[in-house]
Symmetry: C2
Subunit: 250 residues, 2 copies
Amino acid sequence: MPQLQRLVITSEQLQGEQIALTQEQQHYLGRVLRQQTGSRFIAMNGKGQWWLAKLDSPKSAHILESLNITTELTIPVTLMVAPAKGNAFDQVVRCTTELGISRLVPLLSERTLLKPSPHKCLRWRRIAIEAAEQSCRQVIPEVLDPMSLTAALRWSQQRGQTTAQYICVTDSAVSGLLSKLAPTQGIILMTGPEGGWTTTEQKQAILAGYRPVSLGRRILKATTAPITALSVIAAHLEQHSVSEQQEGVT
Amino acid sequence: MPQLQRLVITSEQLQGEQIALTQEQQHYLGRVLRQQTGSRFIAMNGKGQWWLAKLDSPKSAHILESLNITTELTIPVTLMVAPAKGNAFDQVVRCTTELGISRLVPLLSERTLLKPSPHKCLRWRRIAIEAAEQSCRQVIPEVLDPMSLTAALRWSQQRGQTTAQYICVTDSAVSGLLSKLAPTQGIILMTGPEGGWTTTEQKQAILAGYRPVSLGRRILKATTAPITALSVIAAHLEQHSVSEQQEGVT
């Protein structure tokens, strides 16, 4: 089914089995993709459910059947990142959505250069929706409002019993993230801003229960580090194919 | 030492212990960074050697000492990627250089939209140098001229005995890259263009000895896939810290 167009619909758009398309969706299906009445597409509610749908008119569609797919990581992964200047953070939102994050927290650390406006946050949420549609996610990652490091540490301490918490640091004496991953019910991971964490910030996170991990011997850009970290986590959680997992090989 | 400026110098610039700076380097050190006579920087030859150097004048410097660093992956990794449209491939060159590739081969597959000009290749080589300086690489990755898939498979067959060869595919019944990595003397990895490999291309690579691997259950963009693959390979090769490796813990 991945070759069919995927569209996120809200609960307000769904009345029984009928879907009322938004003006933007009408334009996209009708004008951009030139889909006719009778064409099929995938409707997703962004919370795990996919349906096969059929266009009844330029403005509406109806559900044909519920689709059974499994594209989510097996546990929720929260990423806390200090946004980079300009639009460089867009790439982080897009790639880490493709890689399966559940939640993204923009962090205001001491060396964070960007103080994101509400407009920026709306933009990141829109990018997360688009990337979720394109990458066949079942769930749209939640992009929270920016938080200070102190608030983020307090937030994650409330989840401390059930999640493994990691802070990526540049100290090469520290073990790699991959070697520290262990069975858990969830992961929270922090990567630093351009210029890195201050020593105080690093200590504060470690005191709050975060384990320091390395992403390798080289210096990664602040925009590369979260993509690398998520790639490693997703690869660890999905080492074996779906069919092997169903057979219990993992 | 990573906080010092790093500059790549050619063998022609080095006469005994004296370094003749290029006009671009003179401008960068003197005008952009406002470095004075007596300032220190790191000179790297891009082939593994780093030196601590001291500015003698705006135009020249001399070597103080040879530096002992280890930031390269333990085995050479060649990445073969079909370049994406526009400037999106710049990001791939930059990030995979940070992640430790030895060699990048732009691939001309059936669905490759970009036919790179010699000017593009020069641009990618310049990006590789910059990213190598910034990420503390010892070696500058080689960016080869674009190759057809057939030529690339022939090229890699000549290295078949000593390298493990992987092709990233979107089939979810295939195992993850991480689970297929095994001790080897080198890795060659291919990721597909926007729109994916054709069935014929995929078969051709598998027949030539490439093992198909998955990068997860979601659909990654053509520009995300190589960064994800390199993140997984680097994490696998550098699971343990440098000090643990020296103690033989791996």
